[in-house]
C-alpha cells in the first residue's frame, strides 16, 4: 500500500508557517462623542458586509475632508482609526490594490510617527499577503521611533514570517524567541518557532519546541487549531525519524473534533503499523473509516484498515473490509462523476449563490450536505486551495455587485418617475405661487422699511427728545384742530377772537403738558411696542425664509437631475456589462479548476478501486488458503 500522503511530500506541505488572524487593537478614547456614520460602517463590517461598510465610511471621510473646520466634526476623534478601517475593509473585500494605496496615503501624509509606523506595518502585511516580500521588507524598514503598543508584537511576528519566506530561518528564530512568551501570539509564535528551527537544520531543538507548542494551554479556536497542527507536524517528524512511540503520543494530542483530526488519525495508524503494532493501528483507522467519505484521509483509511487486518492474518475480515472499501470507492466514483456532471451543467455556481446557503460562516460545510446537490459534495476539498477560495469569494462578490447594479438601474427608473411626477405637479402651480409671493414680498418689504424707520426715530429720541412724535391719534387730531382754529383766527383782534385764542392756547398748553410729562413713560411704552413688533417681524422673517427654502426645494426636487442620472445610468450599465462578463469568466474558471481537481480525484479513486479489487481477491484467496491449511491440520 502507498503511503504517499504520509511521506515527505505530505510533511513538506504541513511545514508552512501558521498565519495568524489579525487582532483588533485597543479602542480609541471612549470619552469622545460617537461618530454615528463610522459606527454604522462598523455595524456593516461586523456582519461581513464590507461593500456597505466601505460605501458608508468612504462617504463619511470624504465629507470630513471637505469641512472647513474638521476638528469640530465627531469623526475628528477617530480619523486615524477610520482611515485604517477603510484599509482593513478593503482587504476584507479583497481589494488589495486600493488598500495598499489608502495605507500609502496615510504613510506619506503629515501624521505622527506612531500612526505612520502602524501604516507601514499594515502596508508590509499587505505586501506579505500578496507574496511581495521585498516590498514588505521595505515597508517594515520604514518603521522607526514610537511604535504603537497594539502592533508591536504583530510587527515582530510579521518580520519573522518574512525571514522565513526569504529563506532566513535563523533570523526568524531570533525574532520568535523574543516573541514567544505571552500575548495573543503565543500559540502561533510557538509553532512557527518550531518550524523555523526545523528549517534552520536544528531538528532536535525543533522537536523540543514543537513538543512545547503542542502542549500549550489555549482557549481560542485558532490557537487550538495551530496547537493541533504543531502536534501533527511533530508526529510526522518523529515518524520520519522512526520514533514511532513519541510520534504516536504527539498525534494522540490532536483533538478528535479539530480540523487536523483525520490526518492525525491516519498518521497515528501508520505510526503503529510501521512499528508492527497492527492491532493498535486498527483503533485510529476504524474511527477514521467511519467518517465523511469524501475526505482523502478517510479514503486512505478504507484501504489501510483491511491492510492492518491482513497483516494480522485476519484475511476474512480483511476481505470483507476491502469489499466495503470497493463499494465506497465505487460510490465515491459515482459521486465524483455526478459532481463533475452537475458542475458541467452549471449547478455548482448556482448552488454557491443561493442566498440561504450563505447565512452564516458554516455555509461551506452546510453546502456539502445539501440533499440532491452532488455538485457541492467535494467543496471542502476544493476550498483547501487559497486561490480557489479567493476565486470563489470573488465570484460571490461579483454576483452581489450584479444584484446591486440591477437594483440601481431600477432605482434610477424610479427616480425618473419621481422627477417627472414632481415636475407635472409643480410646473402649473409655481407661476401662480411665484406671482402671489412677489405681491406679498413687496408688501412685506414696505412694512419692514416702516419698522426700520420707527426704530431709527425712537433711537434718535434718546438723544433729542421729540414728545410730539409720541402723541397718540386723538392728541394729534386735537393738535391739528387747534392749529386749524389758530389759523382761522389769524390776526383778528375782535374780543371773541381774543377769548378763543386764549382758550386755544390753554388747550395747547394742556396738550403740551401731557406730552411733556408723559414723555418718558410713552417712550418706554414705544420701545416695548417696538420690541413686540420686532418679535413679530422675526417670526415673519422665519416664515419668509421657510417659504423661500420650500420654494427652492420644490425646484430642486425635479430640476437639474437629467445630467447626473444620465451619467449614472451609463456608468451602471457599463459596470453591469463588465460584471456580467467577469462573472462568466470567473465562473468558467472555477468550474474548470473544480472539474480538473475532481477528475484528478476520480483518477485516484479509480486507482484505489483497482487496489481494493485486487486486495479483495487476494484476501479471499489467503482466507481460503488459511482455512484449507487449518482443515489440513
Amino acid at each position: 500500500m502507498r503511503r504517499a500522503s504520509f511521506g515527505l511530500v505530505g510533511l513538506g506541505l504541513l511545514l508552512g508557517l501558521a498565519v495568524r488572524p489579525s487582532v483588533g487593537a485597543p479602542p480609541a478614547a471612549s470619552a469622545a462623542p460617537k461618530d454615528l456614520y463610522f459606527a454604522e460602517a462598523l455595524y456593516h463590517a461586523y456582519q461581513g458586509q464590507y461593500f456597505d461598510a466601505l460605501q458608508r465610511l468612504d462617504t463619511e471621510i470624504a465629507q470630513y475632508r471637505g469641512l472647513d473646520e474638521p476638528r469640530l466634526d465627531t469623526l475628528h476623534y477617530y480619523i486615524n482609526d477610520a482611515e485604517f478601517s477603510v484599509g482593513d475593509f478593503e482587504l476584507d473585500y479583497r481589494m488589495h490594490h486600493r488598500a495598499g494605496r489608502a495605507i500609502k496615503a496615510v504613510l506619506e501624509g503629515a501624521v505622527d510617527p506612531a500612526v505612520r509606523n502602524e501604516a507601514a506595518y499594515r502596508l508590509a502585511r499587505i505586501h506579505f499577503q500578496k507574496g511581495q516580500f521585498d516590498d514588505a521588507e521595505n515597508a517594515l524598514g520604514r518603521i522607526e521611533g514610537t511604535i504603537p503598543y497594539a502592533v508591536r508584537d504583530d510587527i515582530e511576528y510579521l518580520r519573522a514570517n518574512l525571514d522565513m519566506a526569504q529563506g532566513r530561518p535563523g533570523d526568524a528564530v531570533k525574532v520568535l524567541k523574543d516573541l514567544k512568551a505571552g500575548g495573543d501570539l503565543t500559540g502561533f509564535a510557538a509553532y512557527n518557532l518550531g518550524i523555523a528551527l526545523l528549517q534552520d537544520g536544528r531538528q532536535k531543538d525543533a522537536i523540543e519546541q514543537l513538543e512545547r507548542a503542542g502542549q500549550l494551554t489555549l482557549g481560542d479556536p485558532a490557537d487550538l487549531a495551530v496547537r493541533d497542527k504543531a502536534n501533527l507536524v511533530l508526529g510526522s517528524i518523529l515518524f520520519e525519524a522512526a520514533e514511532f512511540d513519541r510520534a504516536k503520543q504527539a498525534l494522540d494530542r490532536v483533538r478528535l473534533e479539530g480540523p487536523f483530526s483525520n490526518q492525525a488519525l491516519l498518521r497515528a495508524g501508520w505510526a503503529e503499523a510501521t512499528s508492527k503494532n497492527f492491532d493498535r493501528a486498527l483503533v485510529p483507522w476504524s474511527i477514521l473509516a467511519d467518517r465523511e467519505p469524501t475526505d482523502g484521509a478517510v479514503q486512505e483509511a478504507l484501504l489501510a484498515l483491511p491492510h492492518a487486518y491482513a497483516s494480522l492474518n485476519l484475511h476474512g475480515r480483511a476481505a470483507i473490509l476491502y469489499g466495503h472499501a470497493l463499494e465506497q470507492f465505487s460510490h465515491q466514483v459515482e459521486t465524483v462523476d455526478a459532481s463533475i456532471g452537475s458542475i458541467r451543467e452549471g449547478r455548482f455556481l448556482k448552488a454557491l449563490v443561493r442566498e440561504e446557503s450563505r447565512q452564516d460562516d458554516t455555509w461551506v460545510i452546510r453546502l456539502r450536505t445539501l440533499p440532491g446537490a452532488p455538485e457541492t459534495y467535494y467543496l471542502m476539498e476544493l476550498m483547501a486551495s487559497h486561490d480557489f477560495q479567493t476565486a470563489l469569494h470573488n465570484y460571490l462578490d461579483l454576483e452581489d455587485l450584479k444584484e446591486r447594479l440591477a437594483g440601481w438601474n431600477t432605482s434610477l427608473d424610479a427616480f425618473d418617475d419621481i422627477i417627472r411626477l414632481r415636475g407635472d405637479n409643480y410646473t402649473p402651480l409655481l407661476p401662480e405661487v411665484d406671482a402671489r409671493f412677489r405681491e406679498l414680498d413687496s408688501r412685506m418689504r414696505l412694512r419692514l422699511e416702516q419698522q426700520k424707520s420707527l426704530g431709527e426715530r425712537l433711537h434718535a429720541m434718546l438723544t433729542a427728545p421729540r414728545p410730539e412724535l409720541l402723541a397718540n391719534a386723538e392728541e394729534r387730531i386735537a393738535g391739528d384742530r387747534l392749529a386749524q382754529i389758530e389759523k382761522q383766527l389769524g390776526g383778528s383782534t375782535r374780543p371773541d377772537s381774543l377769548a378763543l385764542r386764549e382758550r386755544v392756547a390753554r388747550l395747547r398748553g394742556v396738550l403740551t403738558w401731557r406730552l411733556e410729562t408723559e414723555y418718558d413713560q410713552r417712550l418706554t411704552d414705544a420701545y416695548a411696542h417696538l420690541k413686540e413688533l420686532n418679535a413679530d417681524v422675526a417670526a415673519l422673517n422665519r416664515q419668509y425664509e421657510a417659504f423661500v427654502r420650500t420654494r427652492q426645494a420644490a425646484t430642486h426636487s425635479y430640476v437639474g437631475y437629467d445630467t447626473p442620472i444620465g451619467h449614472l445610468r451609463t456608468d451602471v450599465r457599463e459596470s453591469l456589462q463588465r460584471v456580467e462578463s467577469l462573472i462568466a469568466q470567473q465562473g468558467h474558471l472555477i468550474e474548470t479548476v473544480a472539474i480538473d481537481q475532481l477528475v484528478a480525484r476520480r483518477d485516484r479513486l479509480a486507482a484505489q478501486q483497482t487496489q481494493a479489487r485486487y486486495a479483495v481477491a487476494d484476501s479471499y484467496d489467503r482466507a481460503a488458503r488459511a482455512q484449507a491449511d487449518a482443515e489440513k491440520h
Partner: protein, 190 residues
C-alpha cells in the same frame, strides 16, 4: 469604538481552518492535475482578480454618487430625519425587535438576526430609519422587545420629543436591558 475591521479575524479564521482542514488534501501528491495547468489557472485567476478589484472600485464610486443623489432627491437636508440604534456598552440583553412611530405614524419595525445583534453588541450602530419631517417639534414612540440575561421577556415603550431644525436631524436611541443598570431606552441627540 472598535479600532479596525472587526470581522477580519473571524473571516481569516474561517479561511484558515478551511485550508488547514485538509493539510495535504488532494493538492498533495497524486491528485494533482498536470503541472502546467494549475499554473495557468492560477495566472488566470490572478488576472481576473485584478479586473475584479477595478470593477469593485468603480461600483463603490457609483454607489457613493447614487447615495448622494438619493439623499438629495428623497431626503433633502431641510426635512431629513435619521434614527440610529445602539446597545448600551457591555449590555447583554438580547434585542429581538424595535418599533418606531413618529408623530403617531409607523416609521420602522425591525426584527434582529443573531448577526445583527452581535454587530450591535460589538459597538456598531444601525441606521434604522431615514425619512422626512417638517421643521418644528415632533414626537417619537419607541417600543423595544427582547430578553433579559435571565431569559425573561421584556417589552418597553417610551415617548420622546425632538425638534427638527433646518439641518438634517439625527436621533440616536440606546437600549439597555432592564435590570442591567442602563436605562431601557435613552435618547441621544447627535
Amino acid at each position: 469604538m472598535a479600532r479596525r475591521s472587526p470581522d477580519t479575524a473571524r473571516a481569516f479564521m474561517a479561511a484558515l481552518l478551511l485550508s488547514l482542514a485538509v493539510p495535504n488534501g488532494w493538492a498533495g501528491s497524486s491528485d494533482k492535475p498536470p503541472a502546467d495547468k494549475p499554473q495557468n489557472d492560477k495566472q488566470q485567476m490572478r488576472g481576473l482578480d485584478e479586473q475584479i478589484q477595478e470593477v469593485k472600485s468603480d461600483v463603490l464610486r457609483i454607489a457613493a454618487e447614487l447615495n448622494q443623489l438619493e439623499e438629495k432627491l428623497l431626503y433633502p437636508s431641510g426635512t431629513q430625519v435619521a434614527v440610529f440604534v445602539a446597545l448600551a456598552k457591555g449590555d447583554t440583553m438580547r434585542l429581538d425587535a424595535v418599533r418606531l412611530l413618529i408623530d403617531g405614524q409607523p416609521a420602522a419595525q425591525y426584527v434582529y438576526s443573531a448577526k445583527e445583534l452581535e454587530a450591535l453588541r460589538k459597538g456598531g450602530v444601525q441606521r434604522i430609519y431615514v425619512g422626512n419631517v417638517a421643521t418644528g417639534d415632533h414626537q417619537i414612540e419607541v417600543t423595544v422587545e427582547g430578553k433579559r440575561e435571565s431569559g425573561a421577556d421584556f417589552s418597553r415603550t417610551e415617548h420622546f420629543a425632538f425638534r427638527k431644525d433646518v439641518k438634517p436631524k439625527m436621533v440616536g436611541l440606546t437600549f439597555g436591558g432592564q435590570g442591567s443598570g442602563n436605562p431601557p431606552i435613552a435618547l441621544g441627540d447627535w
